[in-house]
């Protein structure tokens, strides 16, 4: 349950960006959350709703894009979207894999009222 702590970091970035752009309000926040990011999107939403009160993002909508884990085999070069976290190539059985996506925890975009 470290999502509240992560949301506190998010608000530091939101407030800094809003100040830079001299925005009056933040109206939309879009996050990219990887399957292996270690956070639960639903808990992020709850934490965001608790935290946003009396901030510049009080009326903001939170949009979370869940990013699945995607790997590329370094032997057969096939790319696979994984539903589990078994790091073995489904095509050739190799364990030499490169992670292409799925660990990210990013603030992608925000919409401001200026």
């Amino acid at each position: 349950m470290h999502e509240l702590s992560i949301v506190a970091n998010l608000f530091e970035i939101l407030e800094e960006k809003a100040r830079e752009k001299r925005a009056k309000k933040v109206t939309l926040v879009k996050l990219r959350v990887g399957a292996l990011s270690g956070v639960v999107s639903e808990f992020l939403e709850t934490a965001f709703d608790i935290y946003k009160k009396d901030t510049i993002a009080a009326e903001a909508i939170l949009k979370i894009v869940d990013i699945p884990l995607k790997i590329e085999c370094q032997k057969c070069h096939k790319k696979t979207v994984k539903k589990d976290f078994v790091f073995i190539c489904e095509h050739c059985g190799s364990r030499e894999l490169k992670m292409l996506q799925g660990t990210e925890l990013l603030l992608e975009k925000m919409e401001l009222e200026i």
Binding site: H2, N9, I13, K21, F85, L105, E108, K109
Partner: protein, 223 residues
């Protein structure tokens, strides 16, 4: 009123990552190997550190940062072994963050060889926070069950080493060491696996040797 969309692409844990990199840089420059220990509560992190402190003979020096929600009990156990220990009390938080380690940093003597960080007992949240360690070790105690690696993928995929603890209890439990090892290696083929019993003292020497060779590698890299 104008609405404007801006592209940010900033990592939410970016500030933690930045502090952790600074800590890692300073510690490795001093030739200190830092090891972050992760596990569920009661998996045996403190007891393992007590056994390590008995095996790690002079001239090697170790120190321990203890992360707990409340009490200095773990730090006192380490100090009783003649090892310097610094307690971080999170006051309720379920994990350590790099900035908490940063506050302890000025107290850490430069002549240490090993700095262990005993994280708050929790297999979930600590996995997301880089503390500036060189090695991350995850402990799995046999009473927890051999099915844990895939239930807590983040902890096992980000670790460098898996330490199975309380192996002396295997005859009493439905715990299959090979199964848990295989599960963990499916998640992370590069894991170094150690099977230990702090009670019987088995596997501790192999683990200490692994830390010693990791220390040598680190010092060669930064010499």
């Amino acid at each position: 009123m104008v609405k404007k969309e801006i592209l940010v692409l900033e990592e939410l844990l970016g500030s933690n990552k930045k502090i952790a990199s600074e800590i890692r840089k300073k510690l490795t420059k001093k030739g200190i190997l830092t090891i972050n220990l992760l596990s569920s509560p009661g998996a045996g992190k403190t007891t393992l550190l007590e056994r390590i402190s008995e095996k790690l003979k002079p001239p090697y020096k170790m120190g321990v940062i203890e992360g707990d929600i409340e009490t200095e009990r773990d730090a006192e156990r380490i100090r009783a072994k003649g090892i310097p220990a610094w307690q971080i009390l999170t006051g309720g938080a379920c994990h350590l963050e790099a900035k908490m380690v940063g506050k302890i940093f000025p107290k850490i003597p430069a002549n240490l060889d090993f700095l262990f960080i005993e994280n708050v007992g929790n297999l979930v949240c600590p996995a997301s926070y880089d503390l500036g360690e060189t090695l991350r070790c995850v402990l799995l105690s046999t009473p927890e069950g051999d099915d844990k690696p895939k239930k807590y993928p983040k902890a096992f995929t980000t670790a460098d080493c898996l330490i199975i603890t309380k192996a002396d209890l295997v005859p009493l439990l439905p715990f299959d060491i090979e199964r848990s090892k295989e599960e963990a290696l499916e998640l992370n083929p590069e894991l170094e696996v150690f099977i230990t019993s702090a009670l019987k003292g088995t596997g501790i020497e192999e683990l200490v040797n692994f830390f010693l060779s990791s220390l040598q590698t680190l010092r060669k890299q930064y010499a």
